[in-house]
Symmetry: C2
DNA sequence: TTGTATGCGTTATCAC
DNA sequence: GTGATAACGCATACAA
């Protein structure tokens, strides 16, 4: 056999005689030989792998983002490695490693700080930021949050509510910070004083349950609870059930994300729909664009209010399946 | 400065003078130099990264497995790359690549066929199989399925049901195949003829809705529906609501997984609890054990029936939160 | 069309 | 203690 002709065979270099190529392929088959993607990467070749950096992999949101992204990855015949940082102190190192092992990265909200984003970008890592503003020349994909949040809170104020509570931690993610900002802006626009602080909590139903419990112990008691996610709103529904509160008469509730389960609740949950899967798709489009050397810009996808019964409205669709 | 002394500095080799070490470290800091994990791996060093191969990343099950695994990974100061194959034809190549870029793999159910498992294993890849029987010397972690499924179906038969339907595709995963086998075994034990075939479908609520619709059109109509997962059972609840059927009087329903939402349903869902997160933890323990060169064996973790109202029972906990 | 030589960034085995 | 040097497995420019 030969030596570096093998490389040509694998890169489908046309300047190899068919007979030689077949001989190499046959030998490879016989010896069970496989090219080392590691060595390939070391030699500077692209690997066809991209990385997704998430805070964690729990819930509908992360799942849909990954799904949308992978749909495009499959079309691009590429592989996707998903890394969850779980807020580890060492996560910077892990992300650096992932960058070294892939052709590009999608970085979700605050998993990586601006300094590291810039450093990686300057070292040549293709990066698309997600659910977070752009950093210098590094583009981002995110949903519109602030205006939809302001509309939502204004809608509740329009129902006559004067004491609204916000459940969720604005410091947990840029998206939540913008929802909190929109919530406050609605108060300002109506000449109302917003609550001094949000009811900070995590992301699970249980967190929502506990946060609601604290919110309802405030004096004077809020008449409406704006939740940062549908998941949290589900916890509020539970607590309301335990305390014998009628929704929305005794308490209005809103969410964010428009989970499939949310319209089946009683009353159906008023929420904000964001195109989660499409956000993942667009992130993929941008990242693969960057890898192909195309210029790409940041994107902000629209969100839309979904008014149902839990805010006090009684729309026609309340008791029927919307997508039957 | 020097040349390969740098390597000693990074591997914390004691045979370096403190002064030299500091000089190297200072220079590295100044130049923003970082060791290449790629080259390290090429030289045969472990990377501290392990890979998880899933069919997809949707739903509570995958999320909990990943969570349990990563808890251990964090303790081991390691990184986890999650790859979803989505049933791609090329997924074998993707898994090979992942194996080359990591210290070990967890392979979920049918994402990788036996032949490739054996090939990778023989080439030195540390592998732990998940929700699937062992392959030769390659160990696996899974939950008990068959017996719990037989118990569940027997319980329904004990309620007087004679026409049970099974919703879910036994060919989709080994776990489901065992649940179907247990379902049939219960019929055999009771001297009943099981349905000839399961009502095959996917994994979403909508799949459950459609499957239930087909099941209820059978003649004679089944009086109980055994769902392969809680998610599918939720779809059955929806359809029952649409058709005005009372649960469990008109139709008994059971699930599998014990989702948080399942006990809040009306009636609360009878299901089977499997220790999903712990399965993930054990997979991590086994894989890190293999990497450390320890001998490890396969594990089968117990599952437990959770009898609630949807099978026809009226246990005391029916209308209260179990974990309040 | 094919073989030769060099580089990619480490680790490890020798010398010094 | 520290500096050369040979792998590790590939790509690639250049020579034949």
């Amino acid at each position: 056999v030969s030596i570096a002709t093998v490389s040509r065979v694998l890169s489908e270099n046309p300047s190899v005689r068919a007979e030689t190529r077949d001989r190499v392929l046959a030998a490879a088959e016989e010896l069970g030989w496989r090219p080392s993607s590691l060595a390939r990467s070391l030699a500077g070749e692209p690997s066809g792998v991209v990385g997704l950096v998430f805070p964690e992999l729990i819930g509908h949101y992360a799942a849909q983002v990954v799904l949308g992204f992978e749909e495009r990855a499959i079309a691009a015949d590429g592989s996707v490695y998903v890394l969850a940082t779980h807020g580890r102190a060492r996560s910077g190192e892990l992300v650096r490693d992932l960058a070294a092992r892939t052709d590009g990265l999608v970085i979700m909200d605050r998993t990586v700080d601006d300094a590291l984003v810039e450093e990686l970008s300057e070292r040549g890592t293709r990066i698309v930021l997600f659910a977070r503003p752009p950093v210098g020349p590094v583009p981002s994909v995110r949903a519109e949050n602030r205006r939809a949040s302001e509309e939502l809170a204004s809608h509740l104020i329009g129902h006559g509510h004067r004491r609204l509570a916000f459940v969720g931690d604005p410091d947990a993610a840029p998206d939540l910070a913008e929802r909190w900002a929109g919530f406050r802006a609605a108060h300002a626009a109506a000449g109302l004083a917003p609550p001094e602080s949000p009811q900070r909590c995590g992301f699970t139903q249980d967190d929502g349950y506990r946060a609601a419990s604290q919110v309802l112990d405030r004096e004077p008691r809020p008449t409406a609870v704006v939740c940062a996610t549908d998941e949290l709103a589900l916890g509020v529904y539970w607590l309301a059930g335990d305390r014998g509160l009628q929704l929305p008469a005794d308490l209005a509730v809103t969410g964010w994300d428009d989970l499939a389960a949310s319209r089946a609740l009683n009353p159906p949950l008023t929420t904000v729909h964001q195109p989660i899967k499409r956000l993942g798709e667009r992130a993929a489009d941008l990242l693969y664009g960057l890898i192909d050397g195309q210029p790409v810009g940041s994107e902000v996808l629209p969100s839309a209010l979904v008014i149902r019964g839990s805010c006090g409205c009684r729309p026609a669709d309340q008791r029927t399946r919307e997508n039957a």
